[in-house]
Amino acid sequence: MNIAVCVKQIPDPATPYELDDENHWIIRPEDQVLDDTDRSGVEVALQLAEATEGTVTLYSMSPSGTLQGIRQALAMGADAAVLIDDPALKGADALTTARVLAAAMQQEGFDLVIAGTESTDGYSGIMPQMMSEILDVPCLSFARKVDAGDGSVTIERQTSDGFDVVEAPIPALITVTAGIEPRYPTFKGIMQAKSKPVTTLTSADLGITNTVHQVIRSVEPVAARTAGEIIEDDGEAYLRIIEVLEQAKVV
């Protein structure tokens, strides 16, 4: 099985993000790390590849930088990476991203696409569904477990009550939750990652010219938390507590 995995290099979440004053985009440092969510996606892909003697190819649309994040995923065991690194794509919206990644996958070929549910820096959470539409394949979302069958895939789809079992023929697209424990790269994996093939493409290579950039009009800091309400217990405090909980719609 030829498995395509969407991965994203993001600024290290442990350090504060800096925004460009002019267009409010995140200033991306040279050294970006692999998005944690994608590590679960790579893990699922590696397990499926091991079970089916398949291959795992990473797809990423971002400034390459030092490739640190991509090397992390290669060190885990992915076979190759395809990067779309193009200044013209800076600030691309989710739909453009979906079109670009889907075009690259169509060009290289795939049986299955795996993506995280949402990125940790952008959080749009809609890109994988757009890709499945463009690729014209079924989308199985929120997988907490994935099994490859004969010409099909079956997932356990996480729900608020438990899980649904969902099956689809391949080719298909799956989004995975962060609940799947990723493996650590081994030292040999780290050594081998250096020599794995990394292909870099531009949007022109994929025949995509009409890229759309979202415009961020303004960014406001989150309002500082206000002091909470202290409820003195005069014997009837529970009434006020119930009222507060009802207002918050948690009961």
Partner: protein, 380 residues
């Protein structure tokens, strides 16, 4: 001049740090309390390839540079010295004597499991009556037909009694002026592993006394040439000194990070204690010591990789880094005040653990001896 770590070094550091913080740090206090050697976590370190970093690919290793091993040891020591010494001794003392000097037969028999971290080996040099004075080795091995018959005792041997210990390489007197290294497989009749010591630190590391009573092993278990044992372990120790230095760097880094974080957060007389020079200067001194120790240790590692002589630099690095680590753990404990004296505070464990850094693999006194001789001073 180039002081940069390469991409591979940085990726390894990130991997070991994450592993250490998620698998070791949350449990280290309990392992220390219970004197528990966590064999499952050691196996996981093996699966990550940490024991095979420098070993030849023929035996399942990665054949990578020694700097990588130092980085892995440093990162483990940053959260727990017991696991760092388990790796350091596993490679420097367990794998290397066989890897560097052993026969093909010994390598094929023992190295694949050791390199994969499925098994551990110890190195038995120190004896109850022979520490720094290794020439006073009293353990004897006498050739009887095609077997060595070993009698004697060894003391303070790391990794010698774990559930996965496969062998101990020991030094033994094989003639009047002759010391040789011999492999003794675990479980050989006449080879007794004494109960684990009760120790001031490194409590999750496995340390035992060993006793040999008419213990017979095949003559082919001789490591390298007969009578070359002294030279072999001296060479083994030169590598080990850099690696112990790397442990000390990890300890220093830990003290620095912990102290700075606490000095920002802990308040006294209405201000963070880091705003007072008494505390701020301790942190500044830790920064200086960490930086200096790191430079000495990685320069010695670099020299070793260049193939040049590095005995002097290894001794300098080990001496400075281990003594700085002890100073830093003492000062970090002081920064934490009463909390620093509590077992749940990481610097408290680092303080107890650090003391042995200036004892193991050559005491500070031995390092000064090596260094002064390296300066051409006369031997007393």
């Amino acid at each position: 001049m180039d002081f940069a770590f390469n991409d591979e070094h940085q990726a390894l550091r990130a991997m070991v740090r994450e592993f250490a913080e998620s698998r070791i740090a949350p449990n280290a206090e309990a392992w220390d309390r219970d004197h528990h050697f966590p064999v499952d976590v050691v196996r996981e370190m093996g699966e990550l390839g940490l024991f095979g970093i420098t070993a030849d690919e023929r035996w399942g290793g990665a054949g990578a540079d020694f700097t990588n091993l130092c980085i892995a040891i440093e990162e483990l020591a940053r959260v727990d010295q017991s696991m760092a010494i388990t790796l350091e001794a596993g490679v420097s003392l367990g794998i290397n004597p066989i890897h560097e000097f052993g026969s093909e037969e010994l390598k094929e028999r023992w190295l694949p499991d050791l390199v994969a971290g499925r098994a551990l080996a110890g190195f038995g040099l120190t004896e109850p009556g022979a520490g720094s004075d290794a020439a006073a080795t009293a353990t004897r091995a006498v050739l009887d037909g095609d077997e060595w018959v070993i009698n004697g005792a060894k003391a303070f041997i790391t990794n010698s009694g774990t559930d996965i210990t496969s062998l101990v390489t020991i030094t033994a007197r094989t003639g009047p002026d002759e010391i040789s290294c011999i492999v003794v497989p675990a479980g050989t009749p006449g080879f007794t592993v004494e109960p684990a010591y009760r120790k001031m630190g490194w409590r999750a590391s496995d340390t035992h006394g060993l006793v040999f009573e008419d213990c017979r092993v095949p003559a082919t278990n001789l490591v390298g040439e007969r009578g070359r044992g002294f030279q072999q372990f001296l060479s083994t120790l030169d590598d080990g000194r850099i690696a112990i230095g790397a442990m000390a760097v990890g300890v220093l880094q830990c003290c620095l990070e912990q102290s700075v974080a606490y000095a920002k957060e802990r308040e006294s007389m209405g201000k963070p204690i880091g705003s007072y020079q008494a505390v701020a200067f301790k942190c500044a001194d830790m920064e200086v010591m960490t930086e200096a120790a790191r430079l000495l240790v990685y320069k010695a590692a670099w020299l070793k990789e260049q193939g040049g002589p590095f005995k002097q630099e290894a001794a300098v690095a080990k001496l400075y880094a281990s003594e700085a680590a002890i100073t830093a753990t003492r000062e970090a404990t002081q920064v934490f005040g009463g909390a620093g004296f509590m077992d749940e505070t990481l610097v408290s464990r680092q303080y107890r653990d650090a003391k042995v850094l200036e004892i193991g693999e050559g005491t500070s006194e031995v390092q000064r001896l090596v260094i002064s001789r390296g300066l051409g001073l006369p031997v007393s």
